[in-house]
Structure formats: structure tokens, C-alpha cells
Symmetry: C2
Subunit: 379 residues, 2 copies
């Protein structure tokens, strides 16, 4: 594919994923257009054209997309009807609008897994709150809203029949609670030529006492058999979807030894940030290559690594200020990524830190120091 | 040092070096202001504020710098008087204006080396063309204009007395022609705390037949003794200059076994592009760390690498178009960097390619394929 610098690529969403995508896309000299509802979105300073508008609004998305050569997303919650119309008008849209639509609803996601024999957590589809009361035999379970739940919102655990009262009164999925050995993620990609690739699995490491995500570890420390299962499943998902672009497949390795799909995201993902420094090709570059129909890059890891989300400190809200950078930056193989969000709030994702390690000991030692050094507070 | 996202960093010059600097600075959430005479400069789409103006004009630079927290350069040919005034007004300027001024003139550079016992090529200072005729005994020699020569301009070889007629009639340096074993470059950095670092030496590899630069090789394949000499000299230069920022020290390893400083550049440099993928810290990040007074990063190489400049193809002038990307991108460990220049001209630097290699054989094989694949032509 020949290329010139008038190629216009539009992205729905202007958050940190879009920002890191642009950092990578600068090397390819594309014109990047961004649509985001926030006039101060992280992508704003780095887009050729930045428009403020609602991603779920038909007219807004349609108007934004007209005249673009290619469109993609960095968040799933977008108006897919407008994208369908744009495809008919000759704009390439990857991931394809029908796939974004399927993934937007956790209920259609589940039906897709079932129809394609993709192992997933056992479930029932519920239309409303009333129906939950029939599922006492299925407890403990997790109820997930079909639409618009993300980043932990719209998800709750139902342990006993007492919890039914707080059930969501919207169409939802009720999933059997799984006893989890480890949570893993595999990022796969496909281009129009049908070339396909996967990144080595990544593992979510929980804090032993706090029951909170501590860091992500790459590559996942799992038996080869589980690794192979996870990769096979992730590749099957993107193949069966027929999707073009990058797809994160989050899975559970259960205590029973199964590998089960939890959720999927058709875009760069939190579990792939460390690829910027720790793999030969980053997930952002791979996404660009896949949607531009370029040959896919080498996904191998260059070394052991971890990724720590940098969250807004509890008790602070306002203009963000970063403290403790000196200690952080004096460490070897440690990389800071700030997302350029003006306002910090407790637990808001303000950036991330990638750590390269020579061994697990080296890595975990560094992580302990990092957690004590940098903080995001307000001025 | 605490940091917030209202920190304003200005850069004089908006070319590819500034562009790659911004790619790195995005991670630190700084507000970047750029001044460049070209309204279509490579940095334009990625600057928070972009001003068009002459870098050598006193009023323009003064006005640009007012209100900034910190200023730096990506080209030496700037108005240092305005920078001196800005320093007095409280703007930090790194590299320091007096050092930029010293480096702008190849004659004062030479006097600096002499005064500080830094080994350099033997030379005479000439005031005008007439004086050249006294130096027949010194031939063959290289005449370099004191000021405003760059990228090979303002430099010529005088082999015999016949060549004196074409001598530059401006203040210049006449250097003895050196028999060169290899050309090497060492990039060093220093921050305000006095912390100092060096990148492993890089080697300029010439095409065996064409007498043109073929690629840059990192680390340089040179005897340890020469490597140590080169590093020692480069560190001495930045120490004796007392410079804050990044400094590229280009040296000759002569057939007589000497290591001699050729020229220095107080900014990111062509010989450091490969550090983006091939070293733990890139030269751009190191420059940022040094001028921000952050701890310096780890400069070690992660692997063997080469950097190939991507030049505008002969016979083409106009809107740039890149062909042969597919073949290039299907190779492992190959990274494309386009600079976003709208217009291509024969031999214009339009981008570069970094290649990671497992061995010299692997590297040189890849380089041969790359040279046959990508081309910059016009539409």
C-alpha cells in the first residue's frame, strides 16, 4: 500500500488509548481526526482535527466521519448506526460496526460465544429484576448489565437470595461465579489480508491482602498448557468474529483447569500498555497496522515486564500534580506515561508505569519502590 | 521535582528532532510551544502552541520565549542574544545561550578544544580567502566556514593549490585532512544536579563503493581502547563546557590510532535516532530528563541496531508519497519513522528506519532488503 500524508484517520474517543495510538501513528505520518465529548480530552493537543461531540449521537458521528478515509474507535460505546451509513458511503471502519454493536451488549457477546462453541462462564439472560428470583440455585453469581456497564460499573455480585433486592432492573446477564486461579488476557489482531497475530498472554496480579489489582505481568506465569489454550481461544474469537483490528480477550483460568472467556474489547486495552517497551511491536502500532492493512508486527516480548496503573490518590480532587517523580525516574527500566488529564479524582486512571525486569525478584522489588514513590494529588 | 500540566516548554525549531522529542515528551504531560519559520514544520500538528517566525531574529525569539518556564533548541542557528535576555527574565534556557553561541561558530569551537586540551584535528583560523594561499604546506585540507555551514554546506576539500581559487572568502577554519579509520559519535548528557551520562559509541558505516554514508551502527564495532578514549573525550567536552542538556560529540578514529573531536551538536542528533528502540532510554527522553533536572535514564543498548536515513529519491520533487512500505513492515525488528514533511526533494531527510539485529549478518542482510524496498517519491 502506497501512502501519502493526506490520509485521514478518524478515531471515536480521545482518551489515553487514543493518545498512545497517536504517539505511535506519528511515525506513519497520518492525519488524525478525533471526536470526544470532553473539550480537554487527552488526545486534544495531538490531533490534526479535534471535534467535541457525543460519540453515541447519530448525527454527530455521521458528520465527523464524512470525508475520512478510515475510522476506528478507542471506546466501544459509540453510535454504530452512523458507522454503518459511513461504510456505505465508502469510509472504511475497523472494527466493523456490526462487531462493535455485538460487543456493546454483554448479552449478544454471550450468545456469540455459545453459538461458536467458545468456552465462557455459564450464564442466563435476564430481561428484568423480577426474573432474578428464579435463580437461587445458581448462586453465588455475578449480574452484569447488558449495555453501558464498563470499568466495573454495572457489575455486581449476588451471593445469597438477600442480594436479589439490589438486582439491576434492566436486561442483564447472570453469570455463575467462577473460582479463579488467574485472570489472563490475550491481545490478538487481524488485517484485511487475513493475517493474524497474538501477543503472549498477560496476567492480572492481585495484591495478596487488599483484593485489588496490583499490577499486570507479561508474560503470564502460567503452565504451557493453559497458555496454549488461552491463545487458541483468543484466535478463535477474532476469526469467528471476522474482525479487523486489535481485540483484547480477557479470560479466567479456573481452579478446575478450564480457560473461559470473560469479556472482549475491540480496541487497544489496559492489558497491552507494557507492549510499548516490552514487546517488539506495541499494541498501538499493531492496531494501526491491522486497520491500515499493513503486515502485522512481531509481537514477541523483549523481556519480562509489569504495568502499574497510576490512579488519582484518595482524598484529592482538582488540578493534577505529580509528586515523587525523581525517585521513580532514578530506577532502571522504569517508564512513566502520563495521560494529560487536567483533573484528578480518587482512583481515576491518570497514567501508567511500565517496569522491565531481569527476573521476578527484580520486578517485584521495583514495583514495591514505585508504589511508595509517585503519587497523583491536586494542587 | 513536582510537576503539573501547566509547565510550558518552548523549543526553537520544529523539525524532525523536535517532533521525536514531542513523541517522548507526551509521556510527561508538558505544554510544548514551538517556533519555526516553516508554517508546515514537522512539529506543527503536535505542539500545544505553534508560532511561525525566524529563529535568528532577536524580537521574534524574545517574544516567543516570554512566559515560558523552560526553553531548548533543536537547531543551533538561533538568536542567542534574545536567549540571554530571557535567562535574565527568569526563563530557564538549556543548553545555555553562551554555549549555543560558542558552538555556532566552528572557529570558537576549535579554540575551546585547544584551550581545554581536547584532542581535535590540527587547524588554522583564516579571516578571508587571501590568507589560504599561505597554507600550501598544510594540504590536503578541509575548509569550513565559521558560521552557518551545516549538513555538508560550507565545507569543502582543498587538495592542491589549484583548489585555493574556490576558497570561501569568509572567516573559516582550515583543518588538516585526516586519514580516517572510522567516524564515531558519543552522545552525552548532563542535568543541573551535575549527573552525567553517555550513550555507547555509534559508528558511521560508509558504502564500500559509493563513498556515501550507508547506515549508523550501534554499538560501534571498535576496539575497547578506542571506545574508552571516545567516551572519556565526550564526557570531558560536556564537563568543560558546563553544559546542561544533551550533546552529540562526533569524532574521528584516525589511522594513526588517535581519537579526535570533529564537531559537536548541543541537541538530539542523527546519530542517536536508534536509541528510541535499541537503548533503554532514548536520546529524546534523555534530553528531556536533563533539561528538566530529572534523574538521567539508563543509556545501555538493548541490542545491536542500525539506523538508515530515508532520503527523498533523486528525480522526484513535490508532495511526498511513500512506496514499498509493505515489504519493509513485513520484516522483524524494523521500525519506520516518517517526519511528516509535505514536500520531498532529492536527498531531503524524509524519515529514518531503525533495524534491530541479532548479529551483524542479520543486520546487514536486513539493511540490503530495506534499501531495495521503501522509496520516497512524489505524487
Amino acid at each position: 500500500m502506497a501512502q501519502n500524508n493526506s490520509f485521514k484517520l478518524g478515531i471515536l474517543g480521545g482518551g489515553q488509548l487514543g493518545r498512545m495510538f497517536i504517539q505511535s501513528a506519528i511515525n506513519y505520518d497520518l492525519r488524525i481526526h478525533i471526536l470526544d465529548p470532553d473539550a480537554d480530552a487527552p488526545c486534544k493537543p495531538y490531533a490534526h482535527e479535534f471535534s467535541v461531540g457525543k460519540l453515541t449521537d447519530y448525527e454527530t458521528v455521521l458528520k465527523f466521519g464524512e470525508g475520512l478515509d478510515l475510522m476506528t474507535i478507542e471506546i466501544e460505546n459509540v453510535n454504530t448506526e452512523a458507522l454503518e451509513v459511513l461504510v456505505k458511503k465508502g469510509v472504511k471502519v475497523f472494527p466493523q460496526p456490526s462487531i462493535i454493536k455485538l460487543i456493546q451488549d454483554k448479552r449478544t457477546q454471550k450468545q456469540f460465544y455459545k453459538a461458536n462453541q467458545i468456552p465462557t462462564v455459564e450464564y442466563y439472560l435476564l430481561e428484568n429484576k423480577k426474573e432474578i428470583f428464579d435463580y437461587q440455585h445458581f448462586l453465588p453469581a455475578v449480574q452484569k448489565m447488558g449495555k453501558e456497564g464498563y470499568d466495573g460499573r454495572g457489575v455486581q455480585i449476588l451471593r445469597t437470595a438477600k442480594d436479589f433486592e439490589k438486582g439491576f432492573d434492566v436486561p442483564s446477564v447472570l453469570e455463575k461465579m467462577v473460582e479463579i486461579e488467574k485472570e489472563i488476557s490475550v491481545i490478538v489482531a487481524k488485517n484485511e489480508q487475513g493475517e493474524i497475530s497474538y501477543f503472549p498472554p498477560v496476567e492480572v496480579v492481585y495484591h495478596p491482602e487488599k483484593n485489588l489489582v496490583d499490577y499486570l505481568l507479561s508474560p503470564a506465569q502460567i503452565p504451557q498448557e493453559i497458555e496454549q489454550k488461552a491463545i487458541k481461544i483468543a484466535l478463535e474469537v477474532i476469526q469467528k468474529l471476522g474482525m479487523i483490528g486489535i481485540l483484547a480477550v480477557e479470560m479466567f483460568w479456573s481452579k478446575q483447569g478450564e480457560v473461559l472467556v470473560n469479556e472482549i474489547a475491540p480496541r487497544p486495552h489496559n492489558s497491552g500498555h507494557q507492549t510499548i517497551e516490552a514487546n517488539y511491536t506495541s499494541q498501538y502500532e499493531q492496531h494501526l497496522r491491522s486497520i491500515m492493512n499493513y503486515p502485522l508486527g512481531n509481537t514477541q516480548t523483549r523481556c519480562l515486564s509489569a504495568m502499574i496503573n497510576l490512579l488519582g490518590e484518595e482524598g484529592y480532587q482538582g488540578n493534577a500534580k505529580y509528586v515523587g517523580l525523581d525517585r521513580l525516574l532514578s530506577m532502571k527500566g522504569v517508564y512513566l506515561h502520563l495521560y494529560g488529564k487536567k483533573i484528578t479524582k480518587p482512583f481515576r486512571k491518570m497514567g501508567h508505569i511500565t517496569v522491565l525486569g531481569e527476573s521476578m525478584e527484580d520486578l517485584t522489588e521495583k514495583i514495591e519502590v514505585i508504589k511508595k514513590s509517585i503519587k497523583v494529588i491536586s494542587e
